[in-house]
């Protein structure tokens, strides 16, 4: 095991040793590397002022992705290319920068480096605009960047210009060299860092990971760090042993197992990586996935972490539960499998023991006649934590409800099935009358809290109404959501852009 981190900073190979493994990329950039272009606006992944781009090898090419430097640990950058706003301009401004200048896209300028990097990543991800303005794509790509001055209009205009053409810059031209440089620092074995009693392990196999967990009962598993990063950046928590899951190949599996009729999702698969596969199976996942955090969060955050953290307001458990998902837990002593629903015991308590980790989520393949929807309610449409997240899976025999599963987040101390409501619906006629009774029954299922996201009265009423919405969506053709225009075009490009 090695003791230093190697990365490409722009084009330059950098080796960092003897540092606190809890150091965030942003602190390192601003305080050590004296690259102050990346800003801190929140230190919690929500404002995007710290956006930087990571280049990672993927087969023979490099994949560029925007992430939030404020909640990403420097130690996790081993073997990657880190591109910051300082790397973009040479003699001339980078096309992205030039477009922002030309369209008056900055006022105070504090958000601008973050927007530059998000747009840079979009340009390199080939998020090209199909005809028209492609506004939905731009909004999705910029949902992780706050600007308080401009009202976004000029930034959108700049984005429209940039994304209309394939990007041609130093990074596309130096592609081959960068691939070789990254190859040269690829690691075959795990990484281990130690600094003043704080340890960071990045194992490269499931066995190593299990052994580390067994050896360090106090170890904290680090996935994308979109939760853990905040413990560090906002709470100054000291985590003496971190075990990073992202380099364990087994945890990156994302495969359809036809025999078992299920999709197997490794715990370290990020939202972004899972997006296309999940949406291909269940297109109705798309509106939810595109609203979990924003691009930067989805590029890092994992589905495993979203489940493992046990949050009652995580967005993935409700839909996964109604679709009948199971969870695989793994430790040095073996594997066990349980219904995802049963993993959540009570607030802050899950069915997982020291030494265990989440290995996989098993999602059944869709049955032909399943009607599935997931609805998220929040104060703001994009990048917000839900007040209520509701998922429904329905199968009808003619007009009779053959099976129904309903699960809500935000309504109880864990993601919870609406059993009373389901009881009313099961075997009944799928009609407005039944829905009325079921909505009333929901009052027995939940006693939601009041907090800053919503009052209990609203949570209950809106939850009941979401069942009504589900009914309407399965029975009438007229739109019953205010959803964003153009989401369909995102869908189309999401699929096309990557094929």
């Amino acid at each position: 095991m090695s003791s230093a981190v190697r990365l490409l900073l722009g084009d330059r190979l950098v080796e960092v040793r003897d540092f606190d493994p809890q150091t965030t990329v942003l602190d390192w950039l601003r305080l050590q590397a004296h690259r102050t272009g990346s800003k801190e606006g929140c230190a919690e992944g929500d404002c995007g002022a710290c956006t930087v781009v990571l280049g990672e090898l993927q087969d023979d090419s490099i994949r560029y992705r925007a992430i939030n430097a404020c909640i990403t640990l420097l130690a996790t950058l081993d073997g990657k290319q880190l591109i910051t706003v300082e790397d973009l301009a040479s003699d001339d401004l980078h096309p992205v920068q030039q477009a922002l200048v030309d369209h008056h896209g900055s006022q105070c300028g504090f958000c601008t480096p973050g927007f530059v990097m998000s747009l840079f990543a979009m340009a390199h991800e080939d998020r090209r605009i199909p005809g028209e303005s492609g506004r939905a794509i731009i909004d999705e790509g910029l949902a992780g960047n706050l600007c308080r001055c401009t009202g976004y209009a000029p930034i959108v205009r700049a984005a429209q210009e940039i994304l209309a053409e394939p990007v041609d810059d130093r990074f596309s031209r130096n592609h081959q060299q960068t691939v070789s440089a990254l190859r040269a620092i690829e690691r075959q074995q795990g990484l281990q860092l130690e600094y003043q009693g704080r340890r960071f392990y990045s194992p490269r196999s499931m066995e190593d990971l299990c052994r580390l967990l067994a050896d360090h009962p106090d170890a904290v598993l680090l996935g994308g760090g979109t939760d853990i990063g905040l413990w560090i950046s906002k709470q100054q928590r000291i985590l003496s042993t971190l075990v990073y899951t992202a380099n364990v190949p087994e945890l990156h599996r994302l495969e359809i197992n036809q025999e078992q009729a299920r999709l197997e999702i490794g715990a370290a698969v990020s939202y972004s990586d899972a997006m296309d596969t999940l949406c291909a199976l269940y297109p109705d996942f798309r509106p939810l996935l595109s609203r979990i955090g924003a691009v930067q969060v989805r590029n890092a955050g994992t589905i495993g972490g979203n489940i493992a953290n046990g949050s009652p307001i995580g967005d993935m458990p409700p839909p996964l539960i109604v679709l009948g998902s199971r969870l695989v837990l793994r430790s040095a002593t073996g594997r066990r499998e349980l219904d995802l629903e049963d993993y959540f015991i009570e607030y802050g308590k899950q069915d997982i023991k020291a030494g265990e980790c989440v290995e996989q989520v098993l999602l059944p393949l869709p049955e032909a006649d399943i009607q599935f929807r997931v609805y998220k309610l929040a104060k703001r449409f994009d990048q917000d934590i839900c007040a209520v997240c509701a998922a429904f899976a329905l199968q009808l025999d003619g007009e009779t409800v053959r099976s129904i599963r309903i699960c809500y987040g935000g309504m109880a101390e864990v993601p919870a099935r609406a059993r009373e409501t389901e009881g009313v619906l099961l075997g009944a006629r799928w009609s407005q009358e039944t829905i009325g009774q079921a909505m009333a029954a929901m009052a027995k299922d939940f006693q939601p809290l009041s907090d800053w996201r919503a009052g209990s009265e609203y949570r209950m009423l809106a939850s009941q109404n979401l069942l009504q919405r589900f009914f309407l969506e399965t029975t009438i053709a007229e739109p019953v959501q205010v959803g964003r225009s153009g989401l369909d075009s995102v869908l189309a490009v999401g699929a096309a852009g990557r094929s």
Binding site: R30, H34, R35, T36, S38, K39, E40, G41, C42, E44, D46, C47, A49, T84, V85, E86, L88, Q97, Q98, L100, H104, S106, Q107, C108, G109, F110, T112, P113, V116, R135, I138, L142, A143, L146, R148, C149, T150, G151, Y152, A153, P154, L377, F381, D384, I385, A387, D451, A454, G455, E457, Y458, A462, L466, I476, P479, V480, Q481, V482, R484, G486
Partner: protein
């Protein structure tokens, strides 16, 4: 060109620097990350990082504060409390003496600074602060306006404006209406949080870099806290990462704390509030409770109105008096109120002290009257636009504001007609009504609302500005003025004015940081007055230098004064010319002074607060917006579908910059009225103190159809700089149309009934609950 020409709005015939869409002077540096904000300044050797410990109750008395563990924490260099202050323990901007730097005993709000720590590194300071053991006796807290009114708890005495006999007029009206509207506050959410760095100098002097809209006040407060004269302190502000009023008074406390620790340790000290601390411990827009009673005729014309504005000011006066005054000044918005009483209550509560925020009370005042108008329209079954038009200022006898100022420059009848046409308002309103009839769940609404915003500080003496211009021997120009750059483009606008006047290109001009040593006794860059005042002051300086140059030229070359022209980098003397640098070198050799200060004071304005009469504003800025929204009646989710804006900026100094202010201001206002919700728990602690819980608009919240235009015929009737108009604040209030349109959408569920009482912000929750209480589909 003489300054008279400038005032007529004419630029030198051939100079094309003003009225051009020049990019922001820092645009490229913003995009490359080279623009330096305070936290980006390369840290000096020995820098200390400062963090403060805050109260965790809303009202209480400190029994004991044990800081021994804080002091003992490795890396901590100094700890200070109220007892350690060498000077005055006060940062109140208007000398109300009610806001301490560090709490001396009685805690007034949750998040109040109690003590401060300086340590070798940021994380050490943050960790050390958590080790304090503080014993507090909790006292009953006043957390809302109702309780404050019950207890007559004020930060300033209630104030009243009255004209005519509103009670009688209301009583005698054919129609009457009364109601109440609750408006939430708003966090500034400047992307760059509060930050200051203080560097001790020789002889006890202090140099402070700060992100502040008000360097002069900061200078004064630092000096006062150190117990020194103002001349011992120098403050420099190159740029802010956004401010919006939130760095007018709110930057001072942190600068003062940094300076105190720098002074005490002899080492440079920096304080940067993390986002949560910033949101918890600094002031915001004032929440208001507005009650109204109005009498009107069958056309919807207001005959008498009684408005009661109660503002939640927080624990100290800060700027609440002028802010609540401005709310009163804008309670008429664009409408003539024949008989009117406006009462204002300035409630002192145990919450963070609320402060300046773009619009400065104006938005709240306007929300009240726009609600009234919508209410009248609903009651009469009329198009609200017709009622708005019927009430607009206009004509003799209908042009006097409640504070007795004559409205002489009203362009709204024309501007609103133009906008109604370009946005197809009437046609779309019909379409929407048809849509609503056939749509089960989704309902739409549309609204056109105007803005009339008074320009000038209502505290008259603040309406003065200074500038300093040097021309160096090579013809390059150093420009400095008292205004600060927070993104609004002030620096480039003033540079355009200067370049135009000298007839040189912008590249000749070096824009320099605001600096108390260069221009003294400045007012805050606020009240949208930045380019009006600093542009004039800079022009005044330029004209002094030009006058000397002209005198020199006429003497040396025997030409007439009128024949000397500065244009396109040349100085023309009749048929002959030389380059600007050539002339400058000649003038220098002939010992002509090439440096001048400039000064400006806004003419005409006066106001007598006792009688609530006067002309507090030099002129009004106008605009109007049409917004169409849709709401989901099952969940309260909502979306802006289209916005059309026409805004009057006079003759724009820089259309691109102005457009940016209009777009940005509108979106910020829309955030205030929709997604941005400040949520305090029952103990008086703010629970939405980071972007994870406090939601400002994102790109996706801005509609694709966002048609923003500067009103072509616009020209300032007053002789302002190049006949332009202030643009910083007014556009924010265009977003009132968003709230109004949402209310129209809700109203469509129960046609013919009273207007739903939708409060703000109109979150999905408020919308759904409003639907519940005002008639379901």
């Amino acid at each position: 060109m003489s300054s008279d020409d400038v005032m007529k709005g004419d630029s030198s015939s051939m100079n094309t620097v003003v009225h051009q869409s020049t990019t922001h002077d820092s645009a490229a540096r913003h995009a490359t990350g080279e623009a330096v904000y305070v936290d980006d300044i390369r840290e000096p050797v020995g820098l200390l990082h400062v963090c403060f410990g805050a109260s965790s109750c809303a009202h209480g008395r400190i029994r004991q504060m044990d800081l021994s563990r804080v002091k003992a924490f490795p890396g901590v260099v100094a700890v200070i409390t109220a007892q350690d202050l060498p000077g005055l323990n006060d940062i109140s901007p208007m000398h109300t003496m009610d806001e301490e730097i560090l709490c001396s005993g009685e805690i007034h709000f949750h998040g109040q600074a109690l003590f401060a720590v300086a340590a070798d590194c940021r994380d050490t300071a943050r960790r050390a602060v958590q080790l304090a053991e503080i014993d507090v006796e909790e006292l009953p807290a006043i957390l809302d306006v109702e309780e404050a009114i019950r207890q007559k708890s004020w930060v300033a005495e209630p104030h009243e404006m009255k004209r005519g006999n509103p009670a009688r007029a209301i009583e005698q009206s054919a129609y009457r209406l009364q109601g109440e509207l609750q408006l939430g506050g708003q966090d500034h959410f400047y992307l760059e949080g509060q930050v200051s760095m203080a560097l001790p100098q020789e002889g006890g002097d202090m140099l402070v870099y700060s992100s502040s809209q008000h360097p002069s006040e900061l200078q004064h407060l630092v000096a006062q806290a150190l117990g020194r004269a103002d001349h011992a302190v120098t403050v420099e502000v190159r740029r802010m990462g956004g401010a919006f009023g939130g760095k007018e008074t709110q930057a001072a406390q942190w600068a003062v704390i940094a300076a105190l620790l720098a002074d005490r340790t002899g080492r440079p000290a920096k304080i940067r509030l993390d986002r949560d601390t910033d949101m918890i411990s600094t002031g915001k827009r004032h929440p208001f409770r507005i009650r109204y009673e109005v009498g009107f005729d069958e056309q919807g014309r207001i005959e008498g109105i009684d408005l009661n504005l109660a503002a939640l000011c927080g624990m100290s006066a800060d700027l609440s008096a002028p802010i609540t005054d401005r709310a009163m000044f804008h309670s008429d918005n664009a409408y003539y109120l024949p008989h009117v009483r406006i009462r204002s209550y300035r409630c002192r509560t145990n919450t963070v002290s609320n402060t300046a925020f773009r619009g400065f009370g104006g938005p709240q005042g306007m929300m009240g009257i726009e609600r009234v108008i919508d209410g009248i329209a609903a009651q009469l079954g009329k198009d609200p636009l017709a009622v708005r038009r019927a009430n607009l200022y206009g004509g003799e006898g209908r042009n006097i504001t409640p504070y007795h100022m004559k409205v002489e420059d009203n362009v709204l009848p024309e501007l609103m007609a133009d906008l109604a046409e370009s946005s197809a308002y009437t046609h779309r309103r019909k379409e929407i009504a048809a849509f609503n009839l056939q749509s089960t769940v989704i309902k739409r609404g549309i609204s056109l609302t105007p803005v009339k915003f008074g320009i000038s500080f209502t505290t008259s003496f603040l309406n003065q500005a200074g500038a300093l211009v040097h021309v160096y021997k090579d013809g390059s120009i150093h420009l400095n003025h008292g205004g600060t750059e927070m993104g609004q483009g002030l620096f480039i606008k003033v540079a355009q004015v200067v370049a135009d006047a000298f007839g040189v290109g912008l590249e000749q001009i070096k824009i320099t940081a605001t600096h108390t040593g260069q221009v003294p006794n400045t007012s805050a860059t606020a009240a949208s007055s930045g380019s009006d005042m600093n542009g004039m002051a800079a022009l005044n300086a330029v004209n002094k230098i030009k006058k000397r140059l002209v005198r020199f030229t006429t003497k040396k070359y025997g030409v007439e004064e009128e024949d000397v022209q500065f244009t396109q980098g040349q100085v023309w003397m009749g048929e002959q010319s030389m380059t600007f640098p050539e002339l400058i070198m000649e003038a220098y050799l002939e010992r002509v002074s090439l440096s001048a200060t400039g000064y400006y004071r806004t003419p005409k304005i006066w106001y007598d607060r006792e009688t609530a009469r006067g002309r507090p504003f030099l002129y009004f800025a106008y605009g109007a917006a049409v917004t169409e929204v849709e709401i989901d009646t099952l969940t309260g989710e909502n979306r802006i579908r289209r916005v059309d804006i026409l805004h009057d900026v006079g003759r724009s100094l820089n259309p691109a910059i102005d457009r940016g202010q209009i777009e940005g201001g509108f979106v910020q206002g829309a955030g205030w009225l929709t997604t941005e919700e400040l949520w305090w728990d029952q103990s008086g602690a703010l629970r939405t103190h980071a972007p994870s819980t406090y939601k400002i608009p994102l790109s996706g919240d801005v509609p694709e159809e966002f048609n923003v235009a500067i009103w072509e015929p616009g020209v300032n009737r007053e002789p302002t700089i190049h006949r332009s108009k202030a643009v910083g604040e007014p556009p924010l209030m265009l977003a009132i149309s968003v709230h109004s349109a949402i209310n129209q959408a809700i109203a469509s569920l129960a046609p013919g009934q009273a207007l739903p009482a939708l409060d703000a912000p109109a979150t999905p929750e408020r919308i759904l609950m409003c639907i519940q209480s005002s008639g379901k589909p």
